[in-house]
């Protein structure tokens, strides 16, 4: 039972939006992401729910079932593998790639994906650092990135630090930012590159100096 391009794009974006919070993905958030209308989203969600690819209760947002998750992750795998090919083998520049990958990700041939993966040398990350799940849907150990480089809106986790002074360690401990601590990067302020994060229901600010010395999951 193969999916249409449209269904696949919905599943992928439900997946991506669901990573930003624990609740179900809202109709409007999906509509904005997919550049379509909320009513169209409702229609499609119903269809996906009928196919058991998402769980859906009216007005309560939508979440992926295991079946839907598997498909979403596979689309991401294909998208990122194609981006590696386009950038590293065809010499594309950074920006043009995404749009083409957006089409190629829907080519339906498991054998093609396996052979492409092998041809590329089984890459674990795409050229932008995005992790590439393997053919069982398992993502590689998360890549590290400095907190000052992470996109806002991402839920992440402290993976390590770049500064090991006692003063810095004490500061982090006081903030509750110990190794493994999960938090949400809410905002970055342009004027001084400070960031606002949310952890354990508290919202706190971190200076650029602090943020750039914290490695977080990408």
């Amino acid at each position: 039972m193969a999916q249409s391009f449209t269904e696949e794009n919905y599943l992928k974006h439900i997946y991506k939006l669901s990573r930003k919070s624990d609740k179900g993905v809202s109709t409007n958030a999906l509509a904005e992401r997919l550049e379509t209308k909320a009513s169209s989203v409702t229609d499609m969600i119903k269809k996906l729910a009928a196919k058991k690819l998402v769980d859906y209760k009216k007005y309560q947002g939508v979440t992926l079932t295991n079946k839907g998750l598997k498909i979403a992750v596979d689309i991401i795998r294909k998208h990122r593998l194609w981006e590696v090919f386009l950038l590293e083998h065809l010499g594309f520049g950074g920006t043009e790639v995404h749009e083409v990958a957006e089409e190629l990700e829907h080519i339906n041939s498991p054998e093609l994906v396996e052979r492409l993966d092998k041809f590329l040398g089984y890459p674990k990350y795409d050229p932008h650092g995005g992790p590439i799940p393997d053919n069982k849907g398992v993502f590689p150990a998360p890549a590290r990135v400095r907190l000052n480089e992470l996109e806002t809106g991402k839920k992440t986790k402290v993976m390590g630090i770049a500064e090991h002074s006692n003063a810095f360690l004490a500061h982090l401990k006081k903030l509750g930012l110990e190794l493994g601590q999960e938090f949400l990067l809410k905002e970055r302020f342009d004027f001084d590159h400070s960031v606002e994060i949310e952890l354990n229901d508290k919202t706190i600010q971190l200076s650029h100096d602090v943020a750039k010395n914290i490695f977080v999951a990408y």
Copy 2:
């Protein structure tokens, strides 16, 4: 004004069928080729005619306009370039390739095609000998193939001979098969590999021995 996958497939098959004879392509021939119904074909032809991609008069079959021809040839270009990639770089076997190329040929990105062509070293023929048109739609000088290897139903032309005895030359002359002579390969008989061809409104038989010594346009 981009075409849908469906429209592109129609244009490609109109092109291929039109090579077999001079008349317009019949509705039934297209329906059979595209594994669809004649009524669906009529609907689509009307749509393509409205877009000026084909010329169409009721009951008179369909032919490509210059605009439609350009698109059809570009699809063939993409199909064959992808087949070169799949066979030579990803290590696909011979049969699985066509189906995947059938999807890839519709990926819409002129830059992708140019870069792929360069990556492949600007091949002139796909691994089955099919000529690959360049980015202006010009096919390379026709490849030669022995007549015993040509697909039936193809219109072709005598390009050369592999046997230069006086006896053979005289035989060909008597049959009317001189260099440059165009003809249609109508049928091949399995039991003795003899072939039936049509030239100048006459139908004649050629033995396997004769056929294998004639090079024809592929």
